[in-house]
Amino acid sequence: MNGKNYYSRRFFLKTSGALAALAAIPATVKSFYMDAKRLIIPPRQKQPLIVKVNKQTHKLDVDTRTTLLDLLREDLHLTGTKKGCDHGQCGACTVHVNGERVLSCLTLAATLPGKEVTTIEGLADGDQLHPMQAAFLECDGFQCGYCTPGQIMSAVACVKEGHTKSVAEIKEFMSGNLCRCGAYNGIVASIQKVAK
């Protein structure tokens, strides 16, 4: 009873008790964390949503906070629509709702049932580019290309609205789309080409 490997009953109880407590801690901490989280951070609220994008109907379950922009990119994987400022100042997220150009970053997805969304992916007819897409290629309407989907969606609406009587009018009615590369001259030329 005096060898090196002697463990007392007391030692065994202490150690095994401590180990058991240690094993129990993670679950306790986790539930405490979850309780605190529920108290501090309100739970997200999801709603079923039926939305029509590029003539296709989608049924989803989305957080009420979801903007049309995030719905397109994150849920429907239509990443052609770009997130620039996410605050309605740059126009990179421009899409059409019921045929009119709007900012998808300021449109809540929950407001969309009953409306039709068209994005840059829905503009071409199969492999046949929309005339505005072709004009942007031809007139160098872009450099880096990040603002381009928004520019093209806005340009298509600009022509449809008939705001193409002069360069000044085109610039005024395209002022909601910023291009940091400065491809503005090519963009105006593209619009003039399609408007003719």
């Binding site: 929950a110 009615f173 002022s175």
Partner: protein
């Protein structure tokens, strides 16, 4: 963004009875959604009221009624507005971008919050965002700040263009309150000065809904102008803006209307200058004298003295444009 509940209403009365303290109404959303992203507006719930409000411009006897849900782009191209109140269309087109005008509603335009940079920067004090925290702009960047009607509590300005035209034309705001009572608020009394409550922009009763805006029939559809000066040619908020309109008898001014944006906590009518213009010959000397009257009234802050000179020029230019437009 804080999680929130979302519901759609199909009747004004239903929307009003569903409205709770921390719930907000949603129309165009161009301002509210942005403010929610920045945690400046933190509602527990949104009630979409786009379906309950009129989106029509209608002729009434003696006035034109603009439904609360008439989008800015529809307002700017409406044949009745262009014929009877073209100044309104001019002002609307000077604001925002085509995309935003396609979304934004008439009533929402009245209720948009200031674009004072400190209101948007949540790490700085702002009495409008957090009552009692102080005004950062008072000793800060004042390029976008007020030059009249401000106090130590707040030097922010109202950002709307549409409202400047509505103020000039003496419009009124039709409201349904929580108890379903209809109220009419004259436009000049709708927005307020900061006083001791800069967190409140206007006198819209709590939990009430704007249902329409009325513009009385007026003789200002021939000689009018909207001049907006800003940091870039388009798609920027006004440093100063001027809505001007003249009712002329030959070259004599029968009546004048003059209002400005970018100068005060509310759309500002220059009544002294209007009074001066009455009965005068419409010429450069008269316009210069009217601008001088306005210049005497304003008190720029240390950081925006340029606005006084800019405003004088804008007023003279706008009045001159009334003769050529």
């Amino acid at each position: 963004m804080k999680p929130f509940s979302f519901s759609k209403s199909d009747k004004v009365s239903k929307a009003l009875s569903a409205k709770k303290e921390a719930v907000q109404f949603l129309a165009g959303g161009t301002n509210l959604v942005d403010l929610m992203k920045k945690n400046i507006a933190v509602p527990d719930g949104l009630i979409d009221i786009t379906a309950v409000l009129s989106d029509k411009v209608e002729a009434q006897s003696g006035s034109t009624r603009i439904g609360a849900m008439v989008r800015n782009s529809a307002l700017a191209t409406d044949p009745q507005i262009l014929a009877k109140n073209p100044l309104v269309a001019k002002a609307v087109l000077a604001g925002a971008s085509p995309q935003i005008r396609n979304m934004a509603s008439t009533a929402g335009n009245l209720l948009q919050r200031t674009r004072c940079p400190y209101f948007y920067e949540t790490s700085t004090p702002c009495n409008k965002r957090k009552p009692g925290s102080g005004c950062s702009a008072l000793h800060g960047e004042q390029r976008m700040s007020a030059i009249i009607g401000y106090n130590d509590a707040c030097v922010a300005v109202h950002p709307s263009d549409l409202c400047i035209a509505l103020a000039a034309l003496g419009a009124s705001v039709n409201v349904t309150d929580k108890g379903n009572k209809q109220l009419v608020i004259p436009f000049k009394d709708f927005h307020k000065l900061p006083e001791s409550t800069p967190d409140l922009d206007n006198h819209l009763p709590k939990d009430a809904i704007i249902t329409s805006v009325d513009i009385p029939d007026n003789p200002f559809n021939k000689h009018f102008a909207y001049v907006k000066l800003r940091d870039r040619d388009s798609y920027a908020f006004a440093l100063v803006s001027v809505a001007a309109a003249l009712d002329l008898d030959g070259t004599r001014i029968k009546e004048a209307r003059l209002a400005s944006g970018g100068v005060a906590h509310k759309p500002w009518r220059w009544q002294k200058a209007e009074q001066y213009l009455k009965g005068k010959e419409a010429n450069a000397a008269t316009f210069h004298a009217a601008a001088a009257i306005v210049a005497d009234e304003v008190k720029p802050l240390p950081g925006n003295g340029f606005k006084k000179v800019m405003l004088m020029g804008a007023i003279e230019t706008a009045l001159q444009h009334c003769l050529t437009a």
